[in-house]
């Protein structure tokens, strides 16, 4: 059976909305971070799929996906460093309790 482009897109859409849902509802900062990764990866899938099906022979989509993976790795490292620092300072990584920035 041929795998159509729409199948991939359905998967990536589900991943994106799962990420958004997680981003909004999860209470733990690490879980929020994982949700962000989920959204990023869904976008990567879209890049690769569009390149493969719509512009066969071109390479931009693949490389953009690789680039995004690199950036998201760096971003994760920074985010985890921030989370560790937050934990050291207030002994808590519950999102609800991190409202000091409003002042």
């Amino acid at each position: 059976m041929e795998i159509k482009m729409e199948y991939y897109l359905v998967i990536s859409t589900i991943m994106l909305f799962a990420g958004i849902y997680g981003f909004i509802t999860r209470r733990n900062l690490l879980a929020v971070l994982i949700s962000v990764e989920l959204m990023l990866n869904s976008v990567d899938i879209n890049f690769v799929v569009f390149n493969r099906f719509l512009f066969p022979g071109e390479m931009e989509g693949f490389f953009f996906a690789l680039f995004a993976i690199g950036v998201s790795a760096a971003e994760t490292a920074v985010a985890i460093a921030i989370i560790i620092n937050i934990y050291r300072n207030i002994r808590d990584i519950q999102v609800r309790h991190l409202d000091r920035m409003k002042h």
């Binding site: 909004i24 929020v32 999102v95 409003k102």
Partner: protein, 634 residues
């Protein structure tokens, strides 16, 4: 004659030097530095005068010399402000007067200001004043005059307020500055009008007597007077402010709060005649373009002179008497300019005015310095605290008497010659003017001798300390000035200064001279009878007979009160308080209302910033959804 630049630069350098490092010097050094530099400037002025007047005449006149000129600010090709040194008969004469009197005052201040706090500062300010005044008289253009005009105003302000811990001195300095500044507003507008139509600031063009210079102003009128009349009248307003003409004279009597040598230098001999000098400088302009303003000047001068003479008769503070006498004498000079013509013997008034300026500077400085010596001895300005000083202060007494005789117009002292020329010019103008000025000359003699007798004769007042003669540094200037007063009248002044520059021989008109001497002698006799013994009750009885007149004259005819009424009640109380209310309630209210509204709006929506990141994300998502739906439906 480039060295004349040094006459200006020496006092300026001294001011900077004493102003910057004066406090590190001893009083003596500071005084010597100031006096020496001024002495050098005086010597240079005499050399310049000698060189200028000994140069051969060209077509019967001493040609004006521009010793130095420098373009300072250029607006257009024709209109530029220069700074320069113009030497012509009147400016050279003024250089001599200013440096001489200033040198005398420098010397005198050694004794008078000894031990005062701020002695160095005092000498620094004296140098600043000398610099400004010298710059004013040698100006090549009217804008340079204006610059130095303001500078003398500042130095006068600084020196009147020298005793800055005394509230009266502070108030007097402010009053002098504000009143003269107000007059200078008119002066500036006049300069702008004049230069707008003439296209130049230069005196050479403005006073050339060439009507085509002002062709642009022909036919233009404002409120029924021609624009040229407005311009020259407004310039005269500046002169009236500086020279204390009625009704802008109110600052001068109060300016006596300053140290007495300052009064002698600034408020008797030099700065207050700046107005007369400027009218003389612009005389051809007044004469050829706006003769009606010249008549106005004569009338203002006569009114001022009469007013001040009457007020001087009842003042009890000796410096105030001298201040009003100064105002009155400057009125004489203005009258002389106002009635003057140009050519030949018609130009007598111009010459007489400058001659009187010269002699008056000397004897009035002498009077003030003498008054300073008296105040130094009895520690009071009030006549009632003096009396019988002639034996205790012989030098002061003799020199003061010489000055009194000079100002009263008794021959052979200098005042007789100059005042006689003024009276002759006034009679030639109209008999009314001549008789008025003769009567004022009589009143002058009366109040001067009232002053003289009350100080040196009359009943001696009780003194805490026995009065003694002033130290040598104070009496030497008195003697020098008295000597000048004795001989200055014999200077053939018409050979040096006249309206056209040509020689104007002085003939004493014995009808006028005899009349004025007769009036002066009568007035002196009256004063002798009233005040010599100090026991004659006639003055008191007269005072009791006309209490309101006496009171009004003593309060200077309520001119100060009128000013206070206009400024405080009408301008501050009426107009300004309304404006202040508008500012406070409408303008500030609008601004405060805006701030209040912003504050309230912020309070209302502050709950939106909860700090909950996930809530923000939720709102963001909703927004995105709404946008997406909207885009799809479009």
């Amino acid at each position: 004659m480039e060295y004349t630049l040094l006459i200006l630069l020496l006092p300026l350098a001294t001011f900077l030097f004493l102003g910057l490092v004066g406090m590190k010097l001893s009083e003596r050094t500071a005084g010597i530095v100031g006096t020496l530099s001024l002495g050098l400037a005086a010597v240079l002025s005499y050399v310049a005068a000698w060189q200028f007047f000994s140069a051969p005449r060209v077509e019967g006149i001493h040609p004006p010399v521009v010793a130095w000129n420098f373009e300072w600010l250029r607006f257009t090709d024709q209109l530029h402000i220069d700074l320069g040194i113009l030497l012509d008969p009147i400016s050279v004469m003024m250089l001599v007067v200013i440096t001489t009197v200033s040198l005398m005052v420098h010397l005198y201040s050694f004794g008078y200001m000894k031990g005062e706090r701020g002695f160095q500062r005092y000498y620094a300010f004296l140098s600043l004043f000398s610099f400004s005044m010298l710059g004013l008289v040698v100006a090549t253009n009217i804008f340079q005059t204006y610059i130095f005009w303001e500078l003398v105003g500042v130095s006068s302000y600084l020196l009147i307020g020298f005793y800055y811990t005394k509230p009266e001195a502070v108030a007097a300095s402010k009053k002098a500055f504000i009143v003269t500044r107000f007059a200078d507003l008119g002066f500036l507008i006049g300069i702008l009008l004049l230069s707008y139509f003439a296209g130049t600031f230069s005196f050479e063009t403005l006073t050339s007597g060439n009507a085509s210079v002002f062709a642009g102003a022909a036919g233009r009128t404002f409120l029924g007077c021609s624009v040229m009349s407005w311009a020259t009248a407004l310039i005269f307003m500046g002169c009236a402010g500086k020279s204390a003409m009625f009704p802008l004279h109110i600052w001068l009597p109060d300016a006596m709060e300053g140290p007495t040598p300052v009064s002698a230098l600034i408020h008797a001999a030099t700065m207050v005649v700046a107005g007369v000098y400027l009218v003389a400088r612009l005389f051809p302009l007044y004469y050829f373009e706006t003769p009606e303003v010249l008549v106005f000047i004569a009338v203002v001068g006569a009114v001022t002179s009469l007013y001040a003479a009457v007020v001087a008769c009842v003042q009890t503070d000796i410096k105030r008497v001298l201040a009003f006498s100064t105002i009155s004498q400057i009125g004489f000079m203005m009258v002389a300019l106002g009635v003057s013509g140009m050519e030949g013997h018609d130009g007598l008034g111009y010459m007489a005015s400058m001659f009187h300026l010269f002699t008056h500077a000397m004897f009035k400085a002498l009077l003030f310095l003498g008054a300073g010596a008296i105040i130094h001895a009895v520690h009071s300005n009030e006549m009632s605290r003096m009396g019988g000083l002639r034996k205790k202060m012989p030098v002061t007494h003799i020199t003061f008497l010489i000055a009194c005789l000079a100002i009263s117009g008794i021959p052979p002292f200098s005042g007789f010659f100059s005042k006689d020329e003024i009276l002759a010019a006034a009679f030639a103008f109209s008999p009314w003017m001549g008789w008025t000025m003769s009567v004022i000359a009589g009143i002058t003699a009366f109040y001067m001798f009232r002053l003289y007798y009350n100080i040196f004769w009359a009943v001696p007042a009780e003194q805490e300390h026995e009065p003694h003669e002033a130290p040598g540094s104070m009496t030497v200037p008195l003697v020098i000035l008295a000597a000048i007063t004795c001989v200055a009248g014999f200077i053939p002044f018409g050979h040096f200064v006249s309206a056209t520059g040509a020689v104007l021989p002085i003939h004493i008109d014995w009808r006028v001279a005899g009349l004025s001497v007769l009036i002066a002698c009568l007035a002196i006799a009256l004063a002798t009878c009233f005040y010599r013994k100090g026991t004659n009750s006639l003055p008191d009885r007269l005072e009791a007979t006309f209490p309101r007149l006496h009171r009004a004259a003593y309060r200077r005819f309520y001119i100060d009160e009128a000013y206070l009424f206009v400024t405080r009640r009408i301008i501050f109380g009426g107009i300004c308080s309304g404006l202040a209310w508008f500012d406070r309630h409408v303008i500030d209210g609008a601004m405060n209302g805006l701030a209040w509204l912003t504050g309230r709006a912020s309070m209302a929506i502050r709950g939106l910033q909860s700090g909950q990141v996930q809530q923000y994300a939720y709102v963001f998502l909703l927004g995105t959804l709404v946008l997406t739906v909207w885009l799809i439906l479009m």
